[in-house]
């Protein structure tokens, strides 16, 4: 296990440097951050002076070297727009995104597992067919459209749920949480549904097909022959083995889901990292962009590592990978 983690850390440092390098390459194409922090009538010389002051006129490699040196000390630069350290800005926005992803993951787990199992056990049942049909629609509608439709129906027309933002939040040691107030929880419903709308059908289908495959295997037939109760066969013997591929996909999808939050958060004015990222692109807040990319890189590495560890716990055969 220890060797495995050390290897991962070394790998991830390399990955981080590559990401930062790519980020730096893109950064110069996105636009001039100085444009966004001065009014339009400010003269060209004033802008040039500001560029010089911010070190934007230095050669590429010097800027990159400076960034790496500071990053090694945990300083990812100052956000031009927020006028604060970029890492501080990102960390302040992270709770919102993490809570949103958590809620949608919860929705996905709660609904996809029973639905997937049911569809696998009773493939010809009308409800299974209905679910398979709607899941295709669910997968093909883009998130932002789902989000706007949800707002239109539940906020504008029915007036049941709030249309934007996080509502009331409570600060626990710097973590702004919406889980502890009714208002905060209500605000989580629509964005949570919107974000899960893409992944939920995918998982129902995945669980269904994996489970159907498992149900065909010899040991299940043997279990039936042994006369075990159906519930035990389905949930204990079949479902547990269905989980392996589901967890792998889930890990990757968790990362993708964080990426999808860009759309959901923008529509719902959800003050998380995705929203911040999109705004940073629009404002050419390049230092924040690079910091965010590095941060998300770290996140992906961490999530994948955790998934690998869980995988090992569920399936003892896999544990060997770390022991080489």
């Amino acid at each position: 296990m220890f060797a495995f983690i050390v290897k991962r850390v070394v790998q991830s440092i390399f990955v981080m440097i590559v990401i930062a390098f790519i980020g730096f390459c893109i950064k110069h194409q996105i636009g001039d951050p100085v444009r966004d922090i001065v009014g339009i009538s400010v003269s060209a010389e004033e802008r040039e002076a500001l560029r010089e002051e911010l070190g934007l006129n230095d050669p590429f490699m010097i800027q990159f070297g400076r960034f790496l040196k500071n990053a090694a000390q945990g300083d990812l630069g100052l956000s031009y727009f927020f006028k604060k350290p970029a890492l501080e800005v990102i960390l302040a926005k992270a709770p919102a995104t993490i809570e949103l992803v958590l809620v949608s993951s919860l929705f996905i787990i709660i609904f996809s597992i029973p639905a997937g199992i049911f569809a696998a056990i009773r493939p010809r049942h009308w409800f299974s067919r209905f679910m398979m049909g709607t899941s295709i629609v669910g997968v093909s509608i883009p998130v932002f459209l789902t989000a706007i439709l949800l707002i239109f129906v539940f906020s504008v027309e029915l007036n049941w749920l709030p249309s934007y933002g996080r509502g009331e939040t409570v600060n626990i040691g710097g973590w702004q949480t919406g889980f502890l107030t009714i208002d905060g929880l209500i605000h989580l419903i629509l964005p949570g549904i919107a974000l899960s709308s893409i992944m939920l059908p995918l998982f129902i289908r995945l669980i269904r097909s994996e489970m159907m495959e498992v149900l065909e295997t010899d040991y299940i037939k043997y279990a039936w022959a042994k006369g075990l109760k159906p519930g035990r066969i389905w949930l204990l013997h079949a479902f547990k083995n269905t989980l392996l591929p589901v967890i792998t996909v889930g890990g990757v999808q968790l990362g993708i889901m964080i990426a999808y939050t860009i759309l959901t958060e923008t529509v719902f004015q959800w003050q998380g990292m995705g929203f911040m990222f999109l705004e940073a692109v629009e404002r050419s807040d390049t230092s924040l962009l690079v910091a965010y990319m590095v941060f998300v890189g770290v996140l992906f590495v961490v999530v994948n590592t955790v998934v690998d560890i869980i995988y090992g716990l569920v399936n003892p055969m896999v544990r060997i990978t770390g022991r080489k």
Binding site: V42, S43, K83, K84, V156, N159, L161, Q269, E279
Partner: protein, 517 residues
């Protein structure tokens, strides 16, 4: 279960509604929030809107574009260079310090150091304190726009911003990328103080107990400003009752809001002109006045306003809208395809030519669609336009580098005055003086330059208006650019919010005077 949940939610919703109705709180949603608490750090509409809430200017614009006394009770011209302001007494800053002439002097000096404002305050020599409540503003040359500039002087609390902060930086430092004391602290004389603030998320404004203006009808104690960037979400928040006031309203949703019984829409013709510049240096054909004229005649800007802007803009034939000094009634929009073709023929170019055009796609309302429409209109007189659109983050570098023959630009004059359009968009480009900074058409007419420069020092407003009108006439006759329209300003709010009373063409809603029933 679902029904129960729904009932619960409805209950909670009404509970929230009940609470907010008692305390006269205004929930305000704008497309952006102030980038900092330092009014001098950036010159932008958002920062000026903020300044009007937390600070007070010496004078401000009223609805008829006259000057309304604020911290200056009256003013008089002493000589060609000097204007004397008599200041209001018994005005307190949020810190408790009294407001005096020294604060005005100090603020003007700070404005002259601000990267964004120093250009506007360049004509000023400085302020001279006569006594505690009298101050002279002195200009280097006679300056016609002295009063316009006084609307930008929001006196800051000199004592509050003097000294050094915990980082050892001076408290009055104007920091573009921060951190600094002034970026996160304020002390003005305005109706509101800034309470809780999380940038980009929420800003709470609380009424200041010692506010001087007791005559103001405003009755809002708390303003909760939430920036909602997405147009659709901002409108949805309004329609669902989550907020009381939104600005701006996207044109495609005007009808939706007007249909809604609980909401109302207020619009006003604005002063941001959208134009195309024809680059005479890149494209020799554009040096021929007949070709430029033909292009002006070929672009159906009335059609663009009706079809693309859905009537939410005012068709333009000149730079400044009605109410501006240079406005001339006879300079109407021109569209006549027949005439355009004749002009092309006269120029010997009936076969047309090919050229390039760039436009932003997220800067002005419907900018991309407008550019597409204009390109297809020009194709009718055989000018084949290769259009490229891009986000504003990339656009301005391309614009400055003049990478295309036709370039789109919108302009709102910071001075609220006609001359400003020409100074930036159409005077001969000159690196030293900075005039013509955004003149990518390279139109250059010494007579226009002379008139504009003369207008700057002409303090007789009637004489000055004549000069500016002459400029507009010359530009019109020369077809110096293709005028499209002035974008409308728009606000929407609940029926009980008296929006009409506080909005103006500068788009600085005076929230201090807002009445909510």
């Amino acid at each position: 279960m679902k029904k129960k949940l729904a009932v619960c939610l409805v209950c909670v919703f009404f509970l929230c509604l009940g609470v907010s109705a008692g305390a006269k709180t205004l929930k305000l949603a704008m497309d952006a929030d102030p980038v900092s608490l330092d009014p001098h750090v950036q010159l932008s509409g958002g920062m000026l809107q903020y300044s009007h809430m937390v600070f007070d200017p010496l004078v401000r614009w009223d609805k008829n574009m006259n000057f309304e006394p604020r911290l200056a009770e009256k003013w008089e011209r002493v000589d060609d260079l000097t204007m004397r302001f008599y200041l209001r007494k018994n005005v307190k800053f949020h810190s408790g310090n009294p407001f005096t002439a020294k604060d005005v002097e100090w603020t003007l000096e700070r404005l002259k150091r601000s990267q964004d404002f120093k250009g506007l305050f360049e004509p000023f020599e400085g302020a001279k304190v006569i006594d505690d409540y009298t101050v002279d503003l002195v200009t280097k040359k006679p300056y016609a726009l002295l009063m316009n500039m006084a609307t930008y002087i929001f006196p800051l609390d000199r004592k509050f911003y003097t000294g050094t902060d915990e980082n050892g930086q001076p408290k009055d430092l104007i920091a573009k990328t921060g951190p600094s004391f002034a970026l996160s602290h304020e002390s003005g004389t305005g109706k509101y103080t800034v309470g809780y603030r999380e940038q980009g998320v929420k800003t709470e404004f609380k009424a200041f107990a010692d506010y001087w203006d007791k005559k103001s009808p405003g009755n809002v104690d708390t303003i909760i400003l939430t920036p909602i960037k997405s147009d659709a979400t901002r409108v949805a928040a309004m329609l669902s009752g989550d907020v009381d006031f939104i600005m701006p309203v996207p044109p495609q949703d005007y009808a939706r809001i007007e249909r809604d019984a609980k909401s109302k829409l207020v619009t006003m013709s604005g002063s941001r002109i959208i134009t195309f510049q024809l680059n005479q240096k890149r494209k020799p054909e554009f040096q021929d006045k007949r070709v430029r004229m033909a292009m002006v005649y070929a672009v159906n800007n009335q059609g663009i306003v009706e079809k693309i802007m859905k009537g939410t803009a005012t068709t333009a034939g000149q730079q400044g809208p009605e109410g501006f000094a240079g406005f001339k009634e006879n300079l109407v929009p021109r569209y006549d395809l027949e005439k355009a073709m004749q002009l092309m023929k006269a120029a010997g170019l009936e076969k047309g030519f090919e050229c390039t055009m760039i436009a932003p796609n997220n800067r002005y309302v419907n900018d991309e669609k407008i550019a597409e429409a204009a390109a297809s209109m020009l194709s009718k007189i055989n000018i084949k336009v290769n259009l490229k659109t891009m986000p504003k983050a990339q656009y301005w570098d391309q614009f400055d580098a003049q990478t295309a023959d036709i370039q789109m630009i919108g302009w709102h004059p910071d001075t609220e005055d006609s001359a400003n359009y020409t100074e930036f968009l159409l005077m001969c480009p000159n690196k030293e003086t900075g005039y013509g900074q955004y003149n990518s058409g390279n139109y250059c007419n010494p007579k226009v330059d002379r008139l504009i420069l003369a207008s700057q020092t002409e303090t007789d407003q009637d004489k000055r208006a004549t000069m500016l009108q002459e400029v507009e006439q010359i530009l019109y006759d020369d077809a110096a650019f293709i005028p499209l329209h002035w974008q409308n300003l728009s606000w929407a709010g609940k029926q009980n919010v008296e929006i009409e009373q506080i909005v103006n063409v500068q788009n600085f809603p005076y929230f201090g005077d807002l009445v909510v029933h």
